[in-house]
């Protein structure tokens, strides 16, 4: 019996193709409403998917990497993904919710309490995708610093990327320490002594690094999962190191089964070197999907969308254009390369999401490689990740007296 697959979907705007909003089934006028996101995530939950990710950025979408363009024919505008996830949480009950939040210009203290709270409002279904912001245009929104050019391929650019990821490493470390800064049983409500908390179980994190320092503890008690799931997207060596050091789940972008095998070996090797004590690292491959039952229909649709957008669209991830059965075959084939699962990026919404939930999932169920019901566990539990003990509790003496 093959290992069960994990499946995630990545939600972004009207879908990942820039002309997706022009599809007949699209709801482009609703993109900034709660109902739009609720409907999509509920559809994903009906498909029993492990989790959804919600894309975000600090700047307006663009065809350029360094800043906005002036196009009016593509979706422009975004809501804050952490708030969208929080808004959706009470309307769903089982699916994991993994919003993107930046690490370059934001405060780790704010990110930590927001994701911890998402874990409370979703009862243990929260995750976080930390994202580095390298666009000078994003930095200008804050006016506090400039970001050196990172897209020109120069040695200086490589050094700048390294600095941004070093800062991201620290950011994730601080967020995780803050999640641990309250031990699980810190709230005691001891009427006899009048103490609401046992302050020996609250910890200053006292992080001091090259980029910032944070004292702690968090203002939010330890979240239901202890540590919400940290998920990183990584294409190359430096992001692989970032993921291996700080993430529970990494989304990678192989272009073949063999490439998937190499990437899995690379990131798992880095995990063993950089963070062997951190528990397992799950590896999902990202695939963009155009799916139609009728052979050839998906290709026709993709070409039609490319025509509308004015150029063939490419992606950082492999694009699968075919039938649900073809995708199911490919998922099973690639999974054998050591992947734990896949994050599917629907090219158009809701069409390709529904193809996943209503066609691909039933096929995988028939083949015995996908769940037939949620098991009631937290997102960590569903991914086979233990609930960690607070690192501060772990260092307490047996008598419970901290030095």
């Amino acid at each position: 019996m093959p290992a069960p697959l994990h499946l995630a979907v990545a939600l972004d705007g009207a879908g990942w193709h820039p002309a997706a909003w022009r599809e007949p089934a699209a709801r482009p006028a609703d993109l900034f409403t709660a109902g739009y996101w609720t409907d999509l995530v509920q559809e994903a939950e009906r498909g029993l998917l492990d989790l959804v990710t919600l894309e975000d950025s600090l700047g307006l979408q663009s065809t350029r990497r360094d800043g906005p363009d002036r196009r009016t024919d593509q979706v422009r505008g975004r809501l804050d993904a952490v708030l969208v996830a929080s808004r959706v949480a009470p309307t769903t009950s089982a699916i994991g919710l993994v919003p993107t939040a930046q690490v370059t210009h934001t405060e780790p203290f704010h990110v930590s309490k927001a994701i911890a709270t998402l874990d409370f409002v979703s009862r243990g279904r929260a995750g976080w995708r930390p994202q580095v912001s390298a666009a000078p245009a994003d930095a200008a929104h804050f006016g506090r610093r400039t970001v050196p050019p990172v897209f020109d391929g120069s040695p200086a650019a490589a050094a700048a990327v390294d600095e941004l990821f070093a800062e991201a490493d620290d950011h994730v470390e601080v967020v995780r320490r803050l999640w641990d800064s309250w031990e699980d049983d810190a709230e005691i409500r001891d009427v006899a002594t009048g103490r609401f908390v046992d302050r020996d179980k609250l910890h200053h994190i006292d992080f001091s690094g090259r980029f910032f320092s944070v004292r702690g503890p968090s203002i939010v008690p330890r979240p239901p999962q202890g540590q919400p799931v940290v998920a990183a997207l990584a294409h190359t060596d430096r992001p692989y190191r970032f993921a291996a050091r700080g993430a529970d789940l990494v989304f990678v972008t192989p272009d073949s089964r063999d490439a998937a095998r190499d990437i899995v070996d690379t990131v798992q090797g880095l995990r063993a070197t950089l963070a062997a004590d951190a528990g397992p690292l799950r590896v999902f491959a990202d695939l963009v999907v155009f799916l139609d039952d009728e052979p050839g229909a998906a290709r026709d649709r993709r070409e039609r969308l490319d025509d509308l957008d004015g150029a063939p669209w490419t992606s950082d991830a492999t694009i699968v254009t075919g039938t649900p059965a073809e995708l199911a075959d490919q998922l099973q084939d690639w999974a054998a390369a050591g992947l734990d699962g896949f994050r599917l990026r629907p090219a158009t919404l809701p069409h390709d999401l529904q193809a996943i939930t209503r066609a691909v999932v039933p096929l995988l169920q028939q083949r015995g490689v996908f769940r037939r019901a949620y098991d009631g566990r937290t997102l960590r539990g569903r991914l086979g990740l233990d609930r960690p003990v607070s690192r501060y509790a772990a260092t307490r003496t047996p008598e419970g007296v901290s030095a």
Binding site: A29, R70, V88, G194, P221
Partner: protein
Amino acid sequence: MTKQVHLAAHFPGVNNTTVWSDPAAGSHIEFDSFVRFAAAAERGLFDFLFLAEGLRLREQNGEIYDLDVVGRPDTFAVLSALAAVTEHLGLTGTINSTFNEPYEVARQFATLDQLSGGRGAWNVVTSWDAFTGENFRRGGFLPEDQRYARAKAFLDAATVLFDTWAADEVVADRDSGTFVRSAEVGDFTHRDDHFDIHGRFTVPRSPQGRPVVFQAGDSDAGREFAASTADAIFTRHGTLDAGRAFYADVKGRLGRYGRRPEELLVLPAATFVLGDTDREAEDLAAEVRRLQVSGQTALRFAEHVWNRDLSDLDPDGPVPEFDPVEGEHTIAKGRASVRMFGDRLATARQWRELGATEHLSLRDVVIRQTARQNFIGSPETVARTINDYVQADASDGFILVPHVTPDGLDPFVETVVPILQDWGVHRTGYTGSTLRDNLGLAVPARGDRVERRVAS
């Protein structure tokens, strides 16, 4: 014409009015508590729910303060989740302008406003506090005299951002391939002494134009800030006369900004204790005060005045004869009440005199001195008192802070609200869909705040 009473509800949390030892008290963190609290407020047809803020756990004598509720969830995440389980209730978050940046906060409030269909509100507060700054990468703090200047600049910048998208910016016309109307969508540039930012904002204009802005602060600078920019002001005034004086003062400041009195609501915070009779409520209130101010809590309050460790003192004994420690150092960190007492020597003298003349213990003096505006009595008495304040122009309504989480609001909703409705001073159904509708505030025109600033 009879004024309508505006009612709002403050989710109780990190303060000494929350009686967490009450057997009826539940979690102040679990989302279900917020759901129940919001449901009660919405049953009572309240205007909004209000969350306070605190970005560092309070400390006293160098240790984390453990006698009150400790900890609270993230404001934006809770309010956004509450938008899913409420239909009409405004969602007001207190967000500090010191440890945040305008672009991020504007984006979060604009998102909340979208996701709630126009029910978001921002209580703009300031901080000067290096203690809290230790949790943030910008660290440090502001000289106290600059905090309103930064707050004003912060709000100016956020308003510029809220105004970047036209109300009809999203066209989404498939045939012509026009998603947004303008190639300049979201463009902004804002430069002043505090911020130099430019770029493109990502969130469309909300159904209520932009979030409602609340402001708290009794200082002259705070009043002026509110008069120039806020939609509502929070206060705390114990007596009818003090309330009327404050009300007249702030409403009188609006004219110089080209604003009318009804464009700024005055909403004091108040606690309440209800009983079947006034006598029963008084007894209950005395009991509640004893629970709110335990002997240990009384000593901690006294330490704020004396500015030294008083652990060895007997709270049921007399007010100490020795004088407070003077100086910049404060024994308590992260709490607003430290500043509440002002001149330490004078406060200590006043407490001693009160204790001596009325034969009160230190704890009893603290109970007396830390009382907030509260409504105590039968439902009729409380309804009448509230209505009297509103009709006498001492306020436009109240933000109620129950002392039990999360169900402490229920008795008020079940008994006082129907009386106010009978008198025709509280709505019997929501009429509008946005918070501005419910508060009787107009949707602001794009760019109006900047124009007003230029004109003033």
